[in-house]
Amino acid sequence: MRVQRHCVIDADRDTVWKTVSNPDCYPEFMASLERWEHVTEGEANKGARYTVHWKIGSVPIGGVVEVSEFDPAHDLAWIGVSGVSLRGRFRIRDNGDGRTKVVFRLAYESAGNLLGLIADRVAARQVGRNMTETLKNLKKTVET
């Protein structure tokens, strides 16, 4: 299941990147975050790992994720290495008017064949709402 949301932030790409690339900012702007912990030490970079759980439905869903792309002011992507199969990405692009367009993508796939497919689809609405809320929070954090 792939869910995508986007927003335009009134700031340049470097300013947006400062927030998106700072793991300490995630509890502030990531909506429905139930658990956020550093697994590896050091600054965020490719290979860094974090435990992340979002409250989806009745319980926290997530697992350990690893940063798979760390391209400053451009792309930040991660993959799930435990828990639910997961890929995520923040795409940061010039909007052409001094503002920045941020695209937030999440692709996930539960185990469990047919019930997994149904669960993914049922969860998609809440995941989408959380992503919209996350982008609103990000915009607010960066613009203030």
């Binding site: 658990r35 759980h53 989806i56 439905g57 009745s58 319980v59 926290p60 869903i61 997530g62 697992g63 350990v64 435990s82 828990g83 539960s110 185990a111 469990g112 064949n113 019930l115 997994g116 149904i118 669960a119 993914d120 049922v122 969860a123």
Partner: protein
């Protein structure tokens, strides 16, 4: 000629021999992973479950999770908590649950062993804790799980406190797990302890209760052995701060009971209507 006591002994032996020996290796993380989406759908859509405080469970090492038990032979709180634990810590973290002999030996419920369910006795519990696993126990067992629905917000282990001795021997903390909602999955009328004695199943199958309840689709049900449709009651679970086993058994037991009752009272105060929540 065989007397009544011989027949009883033979029956008791037959029942006991059908209880599978605990084999912790039967727990299958891949099987659990594949069942989680189905459990998530049931917990999120049907029981509208809400689980809080999982961060209070120690992140690794053995721990004894002690809960109040509700819902009869189809306890929604057990599978909701199992789903929450496996989602939060990952299916890789060893996690076992103690269940009544009858549950683990019942035909068709063999898959529970893949979830880590083992027969409730001291040896199996020690085996699980010594292996470094988290262990979920419901000391109230069949006594508490069949209490009348109007006592649904009362934590009552029926005086059982062997879990404190277990935690002390294993050197692990106790984490109380309070839940509400399960006892509204049917209308439980009576524990039926008198019926258990009358039928002698208390001696034959360690069954202290033969409950009487009203539940769809059957209406009046005796014994809760026939599959029924649980009402879509809202389940709320609160994991509480760990309790160290330092003092006397009675003191620790009192501390656990007070903590659980306070949690149940908090969760119950948030409910506006039965079943709906």
């Amino acid at each position: 000629m065989a007397g009544i006591s011989d027949v009883l002994d033979w029956t008791k032996h037959q029942v006991a021999s059908r209880v599978p020996k605990a084999d912790l290796d039967q727990r299958d993380p891949d099987y659990i992973r594949e069942q989680l989406p189905g459990l998530w759908l049931l917990a999120s859509l049907y029981f509208r479950a809400d689980v809080r405080g999982l961060d209070r469970i120690p992140r690794d090492g053995p721990v004894l999770l002690v809960g109040n038990h509700s819902g009869g032979n189809l306890p929604p709180d057990t599978f909701v908590f199992t789903l929450a634990f496996c989602s939060y810590f990952g299916v890789e973290r060893p996690f076992y649950q103690l269940a009544h002999n009858l549950v683990v030996s019942m035909p068709g419920l063999g898959s529970l062993r893949k979830f880590g369910t083992v027969a409730a006795n001291h040896d199996n519990a020690m085996l699980a804790l010594e292996s470094g696993a988290a262990l979920l126990v419901y000391p109230g067992g069949d006594y508490e799980v069949f209490r009348p629905s109007w006592e649904r917000h009362e934590v009552d282990f029926g005086g059982r406190k062997g879990y404190v001795k277990l935690a002390r021997e294993a050197g692990v903390p106790i984490v109380p797990v309070a839940s509400v909602g399960g006892q509204e999955a049917a209308l439980f009328l009576d524990r039926g302890q008198w019926l258990a004695k009358l039928l002698m199943v208390d001696k034959l199958a360690r069954l202290k209760s033969v409950p009487i309840l009203l539940a769809p689709p059957w209406g009046l049900v005796v014994s809760d052995m026939v599959p029924r449709l649980p009402l879509p009651t809202k389940i709320a679970i609160e994991v509480q701060e760990p309790i160290g086993v330092d003092g006397d058994d009675d003191v620790v037991h009192k501390q656990v009971m007070e903590s659980l009752q306070a949690g149940v009272d908090r969760l119950a105060a948030e409910r506006r209507f039965p079943v709906i929540g």
